[in-house]
């Protein structure tokens, strides 16, 4: 079994078999992370460049670790310390980096479509680590992995994505991936944050958070991206927290055992109350561990393609 594409640009249009292959492969890499020596020589001799045009803690460290666990050579690029500040174009930068003989490029960029653009002009395998408000496929894959780990399946489960769906690449990737694999997906948030086209993707809209808690098996709570002017879409943070914030009280009132995921970093007291966040800590940290395994799987499956 191999992936049907040379790149991972997003989950839109990725066949079910590919998603399943990545999740199954990730399950085997999960075991390596528990060993005393957390390293296998599989990608020895392969070079990976981490091209981060946007800040990141989790995703970047997760990719770096995944590369090291597979014995690949990795190089990090962050925009602040590069020639981008001297005015070099993206195309020139990538062509120069490629001339140094790299095999895989992991890219994060504030503009949607950058990974697609790179895949057209590069020979390397491109992995999207988040592009603008387009997609963040590895995050969605690790969310799906974490859900599958808890329920043993994905098909037929009810998953609700809560928060700023309109500006979230995590939401889009989750919707594409979960729909492909046969889960029922809904979204919940202020109407200003729900994109108009969402129903065309076969996604239900729920406007009441209590309803969302009652009707679903999983809530994937997004971060309110205050740095991306999220504040313009609702009257005040306090109001958002009142209407859509997940609190202990709310969970108890609806009395359901529900899996809550959060891609991090958490705005405490906004989308999750501090109490809920602390209670969830174990699950959210497990999500982070799974992230390394999922990224190892993607790197392995793309890096060993002939």
């Amino acid at each position: 079994m191999s992936l049907s594409s040379r790149h991972l640009l997003g989950l839109q249009g990725v066949p079910k078999e590919d998603i399943q292959l990545i999740l199954d492969t990730a399950a085997t890499f999960r075991e390596i992370l528990e060993r005393p020596i957390k390293r296998v020589p599989t990608l020895q001799g392969k070079t990976v460049v981490n091209l981060f045009y946007e800040n990141s803690t989790r995703t970047r460290i997760s990719f770096e670790l995944a590369e090291k666990r597979l014995s690949a050579d990795s190089v990090n690029f962050s925009v602040g310390q590069s020639s981008v500040s001297k005015g070099e174009t993206l195309k020139d930068t990538i062509k120069n980096i490629e001339a140094m003989k790299v095999d895989l490029v992991v890219v994060r960029h504030a503009a949607a479509g950058v990974p697609n653009f790179l895949s057209r002009i590069c020979n390397s395998n491109i992995i999207n680590a988040g592009d603008g408000i387009h997609e963040h496929p590895t995050q969605a894959l690790l969310d799906m992995y974490s859900i599958r780990e808890k329920f043993g399946k994905l098909a037929g489960l009810k998953v609700c994505i809560v928060g700023d769906v309109a500006h979230s690449r995590v939401a889009m990737s989750n919707i594409f991936g979960l729909k492909t694999i046969g889960a029922q997906v809904s979204v919940c948030g202020p109407s200003t944050m729900i994109p108009k086209f969402i129903e065309e993707l076969g996604v239900n809209i729920i406007h009441n958070i209590d309803e969302a808690i009652q009707e679903n098996d999983v809530l994937n709570v997004l971060r309110i991206q205050l740095e991306r002017k999220a504040r313009e879409y609702f009257p005040s943070i306090r109001e958002y927290a009142n209407y859509f914030g997940i609190t202990q009280e709310r969970l108890e009132k609806n009395g359901r055992d529900i899996l809550i995921l959060h891609p991090g970093p958490i705005n405490r007291g906004v989308e999750l109350s501090s109490e809920v966040a602390d209670g969830l800590n174990q699950i959210i940290l497990k999500q982070v561990t799974n992230g390394v395994a999922v990224r190892m799987a993607v790197l392995y499956l793309l890096g060993t393609l002939n």
Binding site: M1, T25, E31, P36, V40
Partner: protein, 182 residues
């Protein structure tokens, strides 16, 4: 691939396994420090048979692990098909133990090389021994087995097929020949 000969049948295989179990115990002067490590896929079942045989002889249950060496292979660049990864299952400490690696066929020795590397990542065994059901020759690395079920000299056109009840429905060893005619 056509069957050229059935070399070992069910009874034969069972005798070989009993003999190898005795040899392992004899060489290690008992079972004190032993652990068995089956190599995916058929080595896993073979290891379980040897485990059961030792259990009958010594009335002791040895630690039994499963090793998948896909990630340690050296032929990722030359293979046409991407190998599928599966899970190693080693639930015990292998530090300072005498580990017996168990596989069905010993051929080039490259799989065993991968297994040695893989085991080193799990710890530092006191010794590692190799037990194979069939040694068919054509080594490409300086590796030899400590316990051999049967030596079957082969040509490169031939292949050895070990069948085990657990996945193939029968116990047998076949000599196969490439059906391409010149």
């Amino acid at each position: 691939m056509d069957v050229k000969a059935k070399i070992i049948d069910e009874d034969g295989l069972s005798r070989i396994i009993t003999r190898m179990a005795h040899e392992i115990l004899e060489k290690n002067k008992g079972s004190q420090n032993l652990v068995l490590m089956g190599m995916k896929t058929r080595g896993e079942f073979l290891a379980r048979r040897i485990f059961e045989s030792i259990e009958q002889i010594e009335k002791i249950e040895l630690p039994l692990g499963v090793l998948d060496v896909t990630l340690y292979r050296d032929d990722f660049r030359t293979r046409l098909k991407q190998p599928e990864v599966s899970v190693s299952n080693i639930t015990f400490d292998i530090n300072d133990r005498d580990v017996v690696i168990i596989d069905d066929v010993l051929y080039t020795g490259r799989t065993v090389r991968s297994a040695l590397n893989a085991l080193m990542d799990f710890g530092r065994p006191r010794s590692i021994q190799l037990c194979v059901l069939v040694d068919r020759g054509h080594r490409e690395l300086p590796i030899r087995a400590d316990y051999i079920g049967k030596n079957i000299p082969t040509s490169n056109q031939e292949e050895i097929k070990v069948k085990m009840k657990e996945i193939d429905g029968e116990d047998a060893i076949y000599l196969m020949e490439n059906s391409v005619k010149n």
